[in-house]
Subunit: 328 residues, 2 copies
């Protein structure tokens, strides 16, 4: 198996990416193709001992910056690590592409160069979120912020395949994020999406209110990309603000400081449960090719885990299964 | 000042409502008109000593259940405490109406019987949320889930008046919830709302990403009612799930249990900071009348604080100020 990895993607590239790749080579039976500025990648690799025959380097002279508009990056940087990586994937000599770089650029390059899976009109980003049960899979995290109801149906079908094959949950449930539990809630958009999913998605459990996202009520959580962005960012912001508030209050009180120290082990364990790096990456679904997007702040561990998830995608040939599900 | 209070509204009515009203009578110079099943209200009032001349009771034989569809409640229960309360307000003998009952029914009855403020097409629910700075005012919490961009403009203008007059923040900032900070982000809807607000709303600071909702970046946080519902419910669910997770982990470890005990004072203080009952109620804006909606689970303290906020609305004559702002 040969997986192409964007060596220049992410806030700590190429250091974190290369470190993650080296970890992956130790643990998994995979060959990695690093795409990036050759000089920098080679310099980074020199820090490690690794099986030379399981790493290839392909030079990409340009780098897409993290906050560059996707359109500009596509037009002006035809030889970026993202563009070259995706084009390599298109040649079918390689199995998948992973990047912690500019999400918009990865989505745009994938859509343009790889095209869509038959029966799908728009790409979607799926993301694993921790819940009280274990974890759920939220789709779409923000690739398609103004979808049609049909797009949500396609996303639901693809999510079930991903969750079954990669996350090992048999017969996953599917819920639609809505403002009420009963059928008939929401705007015309939600009502139509509900109807389509009720007809065509196995194990569809109906609407899921936003306060149920983290209870584990549904394995697949389907929503439009705008809502997905809001759900994930509100969560991120709320946890950050609550953390700051707790620190501020605890600092005022020596007894509480001691208390916090005594709780440290448990709290660290919880942080680990909620740590995105445990899951690695967010698959870009709907594309005719296996593309995994990692957080810009990905640690080496996150990169390694993204490689593991991607390997499962390849081993289970999820694209073929998705094609079958979509054509039913 | 005479404020009409729905005695039958909320999960713990009439007990919690009457208890809150009694508290308010002690602290504030106000007369309360309790609307509800007279027998039950009188029985409840018998538990307390209170200034008899500052409470009136108006009999309403019917009660709207908490989960009854709003439309049914309007059609079939013309003599519910909500319907009678709102009709009393319409007669202008009373200054405002407060209910912890069925939100949909309150919104529907208000819209039908009181009508809209001139220049406003749809009602919106504003809600006070705790932030790292102090608190912000989010509008719309869910009254209008499929608005036009103009509705967001109206809500922004009304929110500024509320925050200035009732929450005592001079020249409040206004932000639009969006999936990116830069102008031009979001769907056509957000772009148009942005343009309108940029032109017409004083101290408009542009887009606010969802991870900034709790940092206090903006005093008024404007979004459509669907998004508002998602923001509030995700927050509620995330805090609840995190709390459960922490309890579960801490229980496994005696040292952590001790730590949690030592932190109790600080954590209770934080809970108080984030407690909705500190702010009382959520004003229903855009209606030609002062209507305050309280959480179904309102404690007596929440009811008391809702009465205080409503009194400020009356004292500052916010409807007149809103009319002026809307006609500019």
């Amino acid at each position: 198996m040969k997986i192409v990895v964007d060596a220049m993607g992410g806030d700590h590239a190429p250091e974190a990416v290369v470190a993650g790749v080296i970890e992956a080579l130790k643990e998994f039976n995979v060959t990695i193709v690093l795409v990036g500025i050759e000089e920098r990648v080679t310099a980074e690799l020199k820090k490690y001992n690794y099986p030379k025959d399981r790493i290839e380097i392909i030079h990409a002279p340009e780098v897409v910056e993290m906050h560059e508009p996707a359109v500009t990056s596509i037009r002006k940087k035809k030889d970026s690590s993202i563009a070259i990586g995706i084009r390599l994937l298109k040649e079918r000599k390689y199995d998948a592409f992973i990047s912690a770089g500019n999400t918009g650029a990865v989505v745009a390059a994938s859509t343009i160069h790889l095209g869509m899976l038959e029966g799908v009109e728009r790409p979607a980003i799926g993301t694993v979120i921790p819940t009280l049960k274990k974890f759920s899979f939220l789709i779409d995290a923000g690739a398609n912020t103004d979808p049609k109801p049909e797009h949500l149906l396609h996303n639901a079908l693809m999510a079930r395949v991903y969750v079954k094959e990669v996350m090992d949950i048999a017969n996953p449930t599917v819920g639609l994020v809505n403002i009420g539990e009963e059928a008939g809630k929401g705007t015309g958009f939600e009502k139509e999406a509900y109807k389509l999913m009720e007809e065509k998605v196995e194990n569809f459990i109906g609407n899921v209110e936003a306060n149920e996202v983290y209870t584990g009520k549904s394995d697949c959580i389907v929503c439009d990309g705008f809502i997905g962005n809001i759900v994930l960012k509100v969560s991120e912001g709320l946890m950050e603000s609550t953390g700051k508030l707790i620190k501020r209050e605890v600092k005022k009180n020596p007894v509480a400081i001691l208390g916090a120290l005594l709780m440290k082990y448990s709290l660290d364990h919880i942080k680990k449960l909620a740590d995105y790096s445990e899951y690695g990456g967010a698959p870009l679904l709907g594309i005719d090719g296996l593309v995994m997007i990692c957080h810009g702040r990905s640690s080496p561990k996150a990169i390694k885990n993204a490689i593991r998830a991607t390997m499962r995608e390849v081993e289970h040939d999820i694209l073929s299964i998705m094609r079958k599900e979509l054509s039913k």
